[in-house]
Symmetry: C2
Subunit: 313 residues, 2 copies
């Protein structure tokens, strides 16, 4: 690579808390996502030279910026904190949408810098550094957005503490309709609304459904996927934070969705569908419900994105 070459990467939005996969499952979609550009610099250390699309909200101090923290954590690990690197961050997805915005920045930051310095680590090995970036924004240590954003596809988290994650092959014709209504949900509120204790019976139902969803995905059994996409833990509590949630859910299921639930901590919602045509129909039905309230919203139709973060030319 020439000294003045630059690397531009794209890190996609992700859907975490996939219904019964609350806290253990996430998947990547094609767009929206964040872009980060890095290039070598004569000035030692990492500098964030430009941020766009953030309405001036993000700090340029790399020690306080999600992408910066991820990159610095990686460089520190490699003993390369003195390396001169310039970083530009182009936020192309909204904050607090439930689509893994901070994860996308953290993953893009670690991935871009790793590429620039000659790719000493594999994608998989970048996980803890991206997690550190995400944790700096979010305060929590969760791989359910970072994992799929980095690796692509559907990612299952056995344990966040042990960073024990596994990729699940996505059925070929599995599509998502993701709708982001323009309302604000504070992650703190979405977390506090969950109880500390839940009925054992609910845990058993959730476990049954999560196992069914994993088997359904692996066996490409859309019927089993559909019977399994139910969240009896987070969704019944968090739905109150999203206007007309159940109306949107009924609309999605009536239009043929396999299942429907909240993306991350909301306010975005997602439906899984068999095929693009179904996803478009379902997405339109969900969008209609929000627009009638009226709440403005953005619709994203996407196959499960198998690639995760990648270099763009």
């Amino acid at each position: 690579m020439s000294a003045n070459q630059e690397i531009r990467v794209f890190a996609p939005a992700t859907v975490a808390n996939v219904a019964c996969g609350y806290d253990v499952l996430g998947f990547a979609i094609d767009s929206p996502g964040d872009e980060i550009v890095v290039r070598n610099s004569n000035k030692p250390g990492l500098q964030i030279t430009k941020i766009t699309g953030d309405d001036g909200k993000l700090p340029k101090d790399p020690t306080k910026n999600t992408a910066g923290v991820a990159a610095l954590d990686l460089l520190k690990h490699l003993g390369m904190l003195d390396r001169g690197i310039e970083m530009e961050i182009h936020k192309k997805m909204p904050f607090g949408s439930g689509l893994g915005s901070s994860s996308a920045s953290a993953v893009a930051g670690a991935f871009a810098v790793n590429k620039l310095i000659g790719e000493p680590l594999s994608k998989r090995q970048l996980l803890p550094f991206a997690m550190a970036g995400e944790a700096s924004a979010d305060g929590a240590w969760h791989a359910d957005n970072v994992g799929p954003c980095l690796l692509g596809g559907i990612v299952f988290i056995r344990s966040n503490e042990e960073l024990d994650i596994a990729q699940i092959p996505a059925p070929k014709n599995l599509w998502a309709a993701v709708v982001h209504p323009d309302i604000e949900i504070l992650t703190k509120v979405a977390r506090e609304i969950l109880p500390k204790e839940i009925p054992l019976e609910n845990a058993t139902q959730q476990i049954g459904n999560l196992g069914g969803l994993i088997l359904g995905l692996i066996q490409e059994d859309y019927g089993l996927i559909s019977r399994s996409i139910h969240d009896v833990i987070a969704e019944p509590r968090r739905q109150k934070l999203i206007p007309d949630f159940y109306k949107a859910k009924r609309a999605a299921l009536s239009a043929g969705a396999l299942g429907f639930s909240i993306s991350g901590a909301g306010p975005s919602v997602f439906a899984l569908c068999e095929g693009e045509e179904s996803a478009r129909k379902v997405g339109a039905a969900i969008e209609k419900v929000f627009k009638e309230i009226p709440v403005n919203c953005q619709l994203h139709i996407s196959k499960i994105n198998p690639h995760g973060v990648h270099v763009v030319s």
Copy 2:
């Protein structure tokens, strides 16, 4: 079939509540198990003519006998309650062992009668009738013993209410060491010891481990299986009912077991192992702990039994 031909079937013991698979997972082993013999009779209706191995504890009235209820439920469904059938029940496994004794009888009863009358239903279709037999003994509607006893292999229960179950392929070299210590645990006590509510954090851990176990089984990843076999819900409470449970667990893991937990509601315990040699070593280590107490016990070493109930000659 000639009018005086008889059918002899064998239904195997099963391990349910497979650690993190509490209430959703079960598997069949080769032995012990129950045998049932059925033959045509000139006297209308089902009669239980002989029961062995039960110390006189089981009723010969078919409406009060687990195998009888399963068979009658099937015959009623088929409109054949008048059919003359003689049934002999040979109990070859202990009651209240946590090895699915009543399920084995229920499955054998339904399966044997279905064979005798020309096999109008598939194995899978016999599930609700065997469940009815099991429920008559146990009072609960659980498929985690009946499912694997009927179908063989490892069976996952998405929902007992919907009878939505799926078979999971067993890794080729997966063996179980099952030890039945001669102590009594009343199912009622084992159930009442479980709380009505559990911490959300425990539910999430259990969900993570259950997903990991399913993926590990499907991908034949013994490391992932081993990392996933943990029960944070039932085992910590029920272990008190089994003397030196943790000593036996330590012995099993030290001897190389992938994981160790309680079979069903106990008192039997099981270890999953990679290979027969490992299972024999682990089984001996567990046996030694119980014998030192001293508690008498029976050891069963078995591959995961892929067949379930079957006709024997």
